[in-house]
Structures are given as structure tokens and as C-alpha cells.
Symmetry: C2
Subunit: 253 residues, 2 copies
DNA sequence: CCTTGACCCTGCCGTAGCGTCAACGTTTCT
DNA sequence: AGAAACGTTGACGCTACGGCAGGGTCAAGG
């Protein structure tokens, strides 16, 4: 038998057969005078065995191990291990499909945030805010920052994060408070850092911040904070700096 | 922010960030005088967006497509496609796990064939044969050939194959008939091709062959047949040749 | 001043399981 | 005799990065 015939007999490609030769999974047969490989029945049988194992999901390295140890003892071990691995994969895929169905349902109702898909918790919060993000530039930026925080918070801490944020965003009158704060900051987009409205705005922002916000921690994460401040105009950055300092120095409401 | 800080903020490795730069997914930021990349808030936000998409299971190419088209319209399309793909994968894994459980149950009872795992149908047939494969070399070879045929037969044809084979292997007196045929062939291992027992054995083999066997087709598959014959001793090969010719020329029982 | 440690840079190799050329020789059909 | 269909080796491509080599940069401490 030549390689193409063997391939057709077992149902694989010639490329796969040569690959198995290369890995030492399948012994190289004799060569004819013209250099062609000449296969016998034993090669077909061994190749079929390799195929059955790979179709179960074994990697070629595991196949080699199983074939090397002449007993089937090790095979059971490998199969059990493989089953555990497949169980993990199946669970992971199942979880992702659940997430996908959520997102597709949201999209059906046009509730998909422009920032891309976010966690269900944050999506709910954004729902409360309505179209505030489409009228105020500062509000849009705040949404982006919330999205960033949301993404980098591991799922098991998300509940805690939302517990901190929700009262500020959805309590009674919260929407008006947010609108006020955003409007004050919007107004300072082109102002100088010593504008008198800066101090007033800082006061409003501080009062609006969630009381449980770990301000000290925020101030220590210099790199991220600098990036955030650098993204604001000078006067706006000054407002945020002042508000944070006041909050951490005593939180006087 | 430098690259390590950005990585820690969003929860990825620096290597991944550089990879995204290389693929053009994330724009390269300004460089400091020393060549270090200097990131801003927008980079963190974009990186977080990329992460959320990859965590859903999108490939980086799909992420690029979604980010390129500024609307979310295409995202829904991609998500639906992805869900279909994941559904296929989940089904495939589920099927393989079912196979694995079957095999592990068989192994539990020590019923795993030495030839490695085979289809449930063939495993059942082997069960009927008992330890015939461990006493007769020809029987062992026959088992190997059955395994080969089994592997290269697509699952939807397996029922048909077994319908052809089962009467021969498990009908009344079938075990004795098989034992007789195998013994005749074993006896010819070192015989000359003109041994008088060859003709007798050929007669017995022909009568034993499944009546529905497509002998013409078998004789046409020269390559495999040659390999099979080459694996027998000359006298045994002659028996098989004769039996096949008789069967195809009229099937006189 | 020098060292140490913690960063940063570019660039290349490795991963699993083959698919897909390339560039060339052999067999087989017409 | 020419073309189609086969065979040979060798090398690159794909995913989403990890890991390493071989360097440069920067702050703190002896």
C-alpha cells in the first residue's frame, strides 16, 4: 500500500500520516526503490488505533504515552484525567453561553451600552441613569471610568462594589444630584484652575461621592489617578483633587 | 502610566498588551524620552473593552472587527455566530464525555479490548467471542482486521456492518465454526501453497464468510487486499484468495 | 561611586495538529 | 508522448500569548 491508499483506507489525510511519522507515533515503513513508503496491514491497524484515541480527544503526546506502555492500565488513567478536563471545558462553555444569552437579550431591547458589553450589575445601574451619558461629556467620561473599574473588579467583589455605588446613583434625588455634579464639571471644561467655581464644585463632588469610597486607597494608586486627572481639563482635575483630599481628610459633609 | 501599571490596573499581562499593539488592536501610546510607553486613561478604557470581548470568547480578529465598525450592530451578529459555534463545541464535548463514560465503565469490568477502545457495537461482538483471540494467532489477526474495518466505517454505516457480521459470529454453532476456520488457517502457517489442506480450508472459509459480504468490492480494493494477503503466510494467503474467488463466482455453499 | 532590584525595550522560539504551498521526481492514463 | 495524478522533503501559517535572551533605565542604599 502506498501512503494515499493507506490514508483512504483509514480515513485520514496523507499529511496526518507523515505528521505521525515525524512525531514517532507511527513507525516508518520500508521504502520502495523510488523512495515511496510501502505500508502493510500492521501500519493500517496501528494508524486506526491512533485515530480512535485522537477521536476521543487525546493529544498526540498522550497517544504516544498510551501506545508506549504496552498495557491498557495507563489508558484508564489518561481517560479519567481527560474526562475531568473536558468537564471543566464544558462548564466554561456553558457559562459563556449563559452570558451570551443575557447579552443577546439585552441587545434585543436595545439596552446594550455603547461602551460594549458590561457586567449585568453595571448594566442595571446604567439603566437607571437613562441617557445622562449622551448629554453631558463628564457623565460619559464617568461611565467609561465605571466601566473600567467594573471590568477590573473580579466577579466575587462586584456585589460589594455595587453596594457602594448604588445609593449614590439610584437613591432618592440621586439623579438630580448626579446631573448637578456633571453640569458643574462640564461648565469648567475651559476654565482656569483658579476659577471660583472650582471650590464650589469640589464641595458638591465630595458630598456626592459614595461615603464608603476608600479614598485613601484611591489616592495611593498614583499611576491610575494621574491618568484620570490628566484626562480632565486643568480646572476639572483640580476639582477632583480637592474633592478627594477633603473626603480623605475628614469627610465633612 | 507605564505598561506594568496599566497591566495591573486592568488585570492582564504586559505581554498581552504588547501583543495587542502588535496586532493593531490597541493604539501605541506616546513614548517617553527613555523609550517607555506612556499610557493614559483612554488606553485603559480601550484595553478593558478588549478584555471584556475576549472573555466572551471572541477571537482577537473578531474583536478587531467589532471595534472597527463603530456601531454595535455588528457585535450582535458576531455574538450570535459565536453562540452557535459554542453550541457545536458543547455538543461535541458532551458526546465525547458520553463515550468516555462508556469506556471507563467497560474498563471497570476489565472488558477493554487489547486493541484499544473500539466502537460499542464491535465491543459487544468481541464479548461474544470470548478469549478466542488469545489462543489462535489467526483469530487475533481477524480481530485486528475487524477493528480496522470498524474504525474506518463511518458511524451511520456501522449498524449495517454489524448486521452483516453478527449472524456469522454469534448464530447457533457460530463459535464452533469460527474456531474450526481459525484452526485450519493456523495449521497452514508453515505449509506450502500447494498443500492439499489449502483447498479444504478455502471451502470452509467460503462457507463461513457472511453471505452479504460484497466480495467483488473487496477484490477491487487491491491495495488493502494485497496488504492483508501479504500479512498471511503463502498458504494462508492462497486460502483467502481461493475463498474470495469462489464466493464472488457464484457463492456455491 | 557602585551595586542591587525592579522595571522597561525588541525580537525570536515554542505551543497542537495538521493545511497549504513550493519545487521537484514517478507512475499511470490516454 | 504529454498530462494528470501520485509521491518526496522542507518550510511557513494558524491562536493567543509565555518565556527567554540580551540589553537599557531608574530609584534607593552601602
Amino acid at each position: 500500500m502506498r501512503i494515499g491508499e493507506l490514508a483512504a483506507t483509514v480515513g485520514v489525510t496523507t499529511r496526518a500520516i507523515r505528521h505521525y511519522h515525524h512525531l514517532g507515533l507511527l513507525p516508518e515503513p520500508e521504502r520502495l526503490g523510488n523512495g515511496y513508503r510501502e505500508y502493510g496491514l500492521r501500519h493500517a491497524v496501528e494508524l486506526a488505533r491512533i485515530r480512535r484515541l485522537t477521536e476521543l480527544g487525546l493529544g498526540l503526546g498522550e497517544v504516544r504515552d498510551v501506545l508506549a506502555e504496552d498495557a491498557g492500565r495507563d489508558l484508564v488513567e489518561v481517560l479519567a484525567e481527560l474526562d475531568a478536563d473536558l468537564a471543566r471545558q464544558e462548564a466554561a462553555i456553558h457559562g459563556r453561553r449563559a452570558r451570551l444569552r443575557e447579552l443577546l437579550a439585552e441587545a434585543e431591547q436595545g439596552r446594550l451600552p455603547a461602551e460594549g458589553p458590561v457586567s449585568p450589575e453595571l448594566a442595571a445601574l446604567f439603566g437607571e441613569l437613562g441617557d445622562l451619558g449622551r448629554t453631558s461629556p463628564t457623565a460619559a467620561k464617568d461611565r467609561e471610568m465605571l466601566t473600567l473599574i467594573d471590568t477590573s473588579t473580579p466577579p466575587e467583589l462586584r456585589g460589594q462594589l455595587m453596594a457602594t455605588l448604588l445609593p449614590t446613583m439610584t437613591g432618592p434625588g440621586a439623579l438630580d444630584a448626579a446631573r448637578d455634579v456633571y453640569a458643574r464639571l462640564d461648565a469648567l471644561a475651559d476654565a482656569a484652575p483658579d476659577d471660583p467655581r472650582v471650590a464650589e464644585a469640589a464641595q458638591a463632588v465630595m458630598a456626592w461621592l459614595p461615603p464608603e469610597l476608600p479614598t485613601a486607597e484611591v489616592e495611593e494608586n498614583n499611576a491610575l489617578l494621574d491618568a484620570i486627572l490628566g484626562d480632565f481639563s486643568p480646572a476639572q482635575a483640580e476639582v477632583v483633587r480637592l474633592a478627594l483630599r477633603m473626603a480623605s481628610e475628614g469627610g465633612a459633609r
